[in-house]
């Protein structure tokens, strides 16, 4: 046993796969210890907030200001509102309004702004310009207001008795807050999804559920396949005929169709994550049964098995001591493949709208389904779907890599 493990961990493919898989598993276990939110709790108003650090504005006003003199602060502030595209758009308007093109310098902010403030007139109808474009210029003009100002902003509080504003504080342009002074800062590593939920928390929980589905389905499929394969291969005769009859039928009937029909007939209300896993498990045993049967048939007449038979050992004992150890490596590889294909099967089902019930737990397939329904891919909200694809791909890649590694160890012909 020790020797086998040593050999297994010397295969680079297996080790890489194992590391990726362990990393994902560890994240699933450790992350909830730090972030205790419910994975499906809605934490934001509005949809698809981009990833980043969210700092509470109200709290920053209350916290102690630090004065920093940074040279590029003003340039950055202007660049944030007035990018290259905006400058070109402004130039376009100014040319249309009759200012000669060679007098406009888009790189000199002060002159450009001066020309803009002097000439821009929201009511002016430029010939050939669409309404949408005119509106765009009105918005641009509004956002540029006060861009070159150097004084700070006043903070005022409404006096409840006189209903007038009273100045309480002012913020200078050189004021900074230390983020650790602000009590409410939230890191949304992957932003929020279409329902306003934290994608990172959801993703970790979904990965856990999907791995669980894969594990349960894989265990069921492998157990059924192993039992049927052993029975058919070792007992032979009528048992073999019956098992092979059903195995042949279910190899040709597409598993995908069976999955759709069964999960549809279970009905939306009864589909939990575990139910889906059981359904996947019960439709995926065919390959394992075939392969195990073939292996057992080749083992059945080996000398050591015959010796056991002659010694009068019961069938169960022969299977456990003389057959199972010889096909163990094979069964483990089949199990790994079952887990990975079950995770993919769940994802495909969920995209069709036949996945687990949506209100309880997220799964990778459901997250994908939500992102697709809300058109995250068309809207460019990559954080809602891309991490999901990456995780599915990584899980299945790591499992397949482990499998290939094992294959190379147990099939010496494939070694490099």
């Amino acid at each position: 046993m020790k020797h086998t493990l040593q050999q297994v961990f010397h295969s680079p493919k297996f080790v890489v796969g194992f590391c990726i898989f362990s990393f994902i598993m560890l994240t699933v276990v450790i992350y909830p210890l730090f972030v205790k939110d419910e994975p499906l709790s809605i934490i934001s108003q509005g949809t698809f907030f981009p990833p980043g650090i969210y700092t509470n504005v109200y709290d920053t006003i209350g916290s102690q200001p630090y004065t920093l003199f940074l040279e590029d602060a003003e340039a950055k502030r202007i660049a944030n509102k007035l990018g290259d595209q905006e400058r070109l758009d402004m130039k376009e308007w100014l040319v249309a309004a009759g200012i000669p093109e060679n007098e406009i310098d888009t790189s000199n902010t002060e002159i450009l702004m001066g020309q803009w403030v002097n000439t821009y007139d929201p009511k002016l109808q430029v010939p050939g310009m669409t309404q949408a474009k005119l509106r765009y210029y009105q918005r641009l003009d509004a956002s540029l207001e006060g861009i070159l100002a150097t004084e700070g902003v006043t903070i005022a509080v409404k006096n409840p008795e006189t209903t007038t504003l009273e100045e309480t504080d002012s913020v200078a342009q050189t004021d900074y807050v230390n983020i650790s002074d602000v009590p409410n800062v939230r890191l949304l590593l992957l932003g929020t999804d279409n329902f306003g939920r934290d994608v990172m928390t959801e993703l970790v929980s979904a990965t856990g559920t999907s791995l669980l589905i894969g594990l349960v389905a894989g265990l069921i499929a492998t157990t059924i396949g192993l039992v049927l394969g052993l029975a058919a291969g070792y007992l032979g005769g009528v048992v073999d005929d019956v098992v092979m009859f059903f195995t042949n039928i279910f190899t040709v009937i597409p598993t995908f169709v069976l999955l759709i029909l069964i999960s549809y007939s279970i009905g939306q209300e009864n589909r939990g994550a575990v139910t889906i896993a059981v359904v996947i498990g019960f439709t995926a045993w065919v390959w394992t049964a075939r392969a195990v049967r073939a292996q057992v048939i080749s083992l059945r007449n080996r000398d050591h098995v015959n010796l056991s038979k002659l010694s009068g050992h019961p069938v169960a004992l022969i299977i456990f001591t003389d057959i199972l150890p010889y096909i163990a490596s094979y069964v483990i590889m089949a199990f790994i493949l079952q887990v990975s294909s079950a995770i993919l099967a769940e994802a495909s089902l969920s995209i069709l709208g036949l996945g687990p019930k949506t209100s309880e737990v997220p799964t990778l397939g459901l997250m994908m389904n939500w992102a697709m329904i809300y058109q995250a891919h068309i809207l460019g909200k990559w954080w809602a779907y891309f991490p999901v694809i990456i995780i599915i791909a990584l899980v299945s890649f790591s499992l397949n890599l482990m499998n290939t590694g094992l294959d190379q160890i147990y099939n010496p012909a494939l070694r490099e």
């Binding site: 039928i249 169709v257 759709i260 029909l261 495909s348 069709l352 709208g353 779907y385 791909a393």
Partner: protein, 334 residues
Amino acid sequence: MKGYARYFGKKLVWVLITFIFAFLLNFTLPRLMPGDPVAVITQRATQGMQSASAVQEVYKQYQELFGTNKPLLTQFFLYIKNLTRGDFGVSFSQYPRPVAQVLKSSVGWTLMLQLPAILIGWLIGNLLGALAAYLKGWYDRALMPLSIFASGLPAFGMAVVLLVIFGVKLNLFPTSGGYGFDMIPNFSWAFIWSVIIHYMLPFWSIVLIIIGGQAIGMRSMSIYELNSDYVKYSRFMGIKDAKIIRYVFRNAMLPQITGLALAIGTMIGGALVAEIIFSYPGLGTTLLNGIMGQDYPLISATTLIITVMVLAATFAIELLYGFIDPRIKAAQSD
């Protein structure tokens, strides 16, 4: 020729048995569903209607129309009788369109997309895999992890990635549909061009996934063959590599053909989901619509057609296999 007839006869019997089994499952499973689908469409049709007896009448009429008030066995025979006339019943969600009409166009789209994609993916994958086994070295080391990664990626994942890169970011290809939304199918150049550019992304996302899986299988097969005694013997004999490779390729191909027959169901399943991502007007999208609209005549007809397609493909591959496998050929001369 007698041997061939026996081989094909046996295969045909299996296909028929499997079909009957699939047909039974296909009929019974959706009918076990809790809830009353007729009640759902009655509700939809009678929205705003006040009189309860009127609603009751509508319900009865629909029950009569869909035949859900008859015992299951009668429904079954009625279903078979209608099927032989090419009548799949009336769609619930797109009432009063008949299911056959809904499916007629989508079957063509799916066939046109998946048949070439699976064949081309399979061919390229096998070539790459055989090359990896033969060339070894850096080519093998680069191709293997890539293939494992591609084969592990779900078809819809590849579809989304291609769609975002080539459809949304680079804006080279349209992102959804089978042809321009402003067109009516006809045989003009503009329409055919539109179909071709809409075809590219779904096609390549299916092809790339299949390449990965096939390359891995073919590589192992070729390595086995390259290490076998007949190859070593031929090398000692001084036969040229190019000639040996041809034999190796042929021998390694045989299990790959069987593999294709066995895996085609899974491939089609994955490809159907990829269709959904592109809203391609094929069976995948129809299936999704059926599921969303709780439309069991549509679902059951779609799954039946998918099953028939897979069975037909499997049977065709087995026929082909019978002709090319030298062992089956040899058995005929006895």
